[in-house]
């Protein structure tokens, strides 16, 4: 069964400056939806509004047509990886994988170097190693949808390729909303791409659309 996540009617302002005003975004299970936009356009805010962790005057977030005011209370429907480290540093990998019900052995089959860290706290890992664990957990957690905010930051090129393959593979089970300034990775893996410009989202149908919206010069 295909599930849909839709968000619209979002109105967000900071100090009188309108950040988000004319939004309609739709994700489906089995698809990767890319979200591009320049700095300060409100990509992270949009994700937080959808997730329910950022309050706004008005919004409508729906899963399969049912209104979900606080999606963060429904981890079976939606999980979210913010652009910063979010796993408490004191927790051991063993505990984290158990909490999120993700198989550690499957993780180490793909990333064998982590075998030695099973009993280590996540704060003992390097920035890139920690980010990879967090990304893997959110990608693999059982949920209809996952939102990834700058998932490829701090990862090495090989790790980025491995994670892209994993996301593409995992889209059989869930829908992804992904944003990252490494836009070539986003354009490569996404089935749909939205560009956020001046508080409005534009669904693009070609790379030229992204260029015309002033986000990047993809032909160069």
């Amino acid at each position: 069964m295909i599930h849909t996540l839709e968000a619209d009617g979002i109105d967000l302002s900071f100090s009188g400056r309108k950040i988000l005003s004319d939004i309609y975004i739709k994700c489906e299970t089995g698809k990767i939806t890319g979200l591009l936009g320049r700095n300060g356009q409100g990509k992270s805010c949009l994700m937080q509004v959808i997730y329910g962790s950022l309050s706004v005057k008005s919004k409508s977030v729906r899963v399969d047509g049912s209104y979900i005011p606080d999606a963060y209370k429904r981890s079976d429907l939606l999980v979210y990886m913010p652009q910063f480290n979010f796993v408490p540093g004191a927790l051991k990998l063993e505990r984290i994988f158990r909490d999120l019900e993700v198989e550690f052995s499957a993780f180490t089959r793909q990333f064998p170097i982590y075998n030695q860290f099973f009993q280590s706290s996540i704060s003992s890992l390097s920035g890139g190693q920690r980010r990879l664990v967090e990304l893997y957990l959110i990608v693999m957690t059982k949920s209809h949808f996952a939102m990834l905010d700058e998932p490829f930051s701090h990862l090495s090129p090989i790790q980025i390729d491995q994670m892209k393959e994993l996301i593409i593979d995992e889209k059989r089970n869930k829908g992804f909303l992904v944003t990252d300034h490494m836009y070539r990775h986003i354009t490569e893996i996404s089935d749909n791409i939205y560009v956020l410009v001046n508080g409005k989202v534009h669904l693009t149908s070609s790379l030229e659309d992204i260029e015309n919206l002033g986000y990047a010069y993809l032909s160069k």
């Binding site: 997730y51 962790s53 606080d70 963060y72 209370k73 429904r74 981890s75 079976d76 999980v79 979210y80 913010p82 910063f84 480290n85 979010f86 796993v87 408490p88 927790l91 909490d99 999120l100 959110i138 957690t141």
Partner: protein, 83 residues
């Protein structure tokens, strides 16, 4: 931190034979408010971990506050009964 403050309050209450109970109660309440403020500020990123487990901030704070209050008041009651 909260546990440590509770122990100090309980020691003062026991030593003063409940004459300072009211002061310690408000001291405990005030420090809890400060702890809430600082954790909400410095640890706000880590709330996403619990939210991804389906545990909201409200549930986290409420359960922590209830356990803390029960421990504090329960210990006070025990001190009162066995003084």
């Amino acid at each position: 931190m909260s546990f440590f403050i509770t122990l100090i309050c309980l020691a003062v209450i026991a030593k003063s034979e409940f004459s300072l109970f009211s002061s310690m109660f408000w001291f405990k309440l005030g420090t809890n408010g400060m702890i809430y403020y600082f954790i909400s500020d410095y640890k706000h990123k880590e709330f996403y971990y619990f939210q991804n487990l389906g545990v909201s901030r409200t549930l986290l704070w409420t359960s922590t506050a209830v356990i803390d209050a029960m421990f504090f008041l329960g210990s006070c009651l025990l001190i009162y009964l066995y003084r």
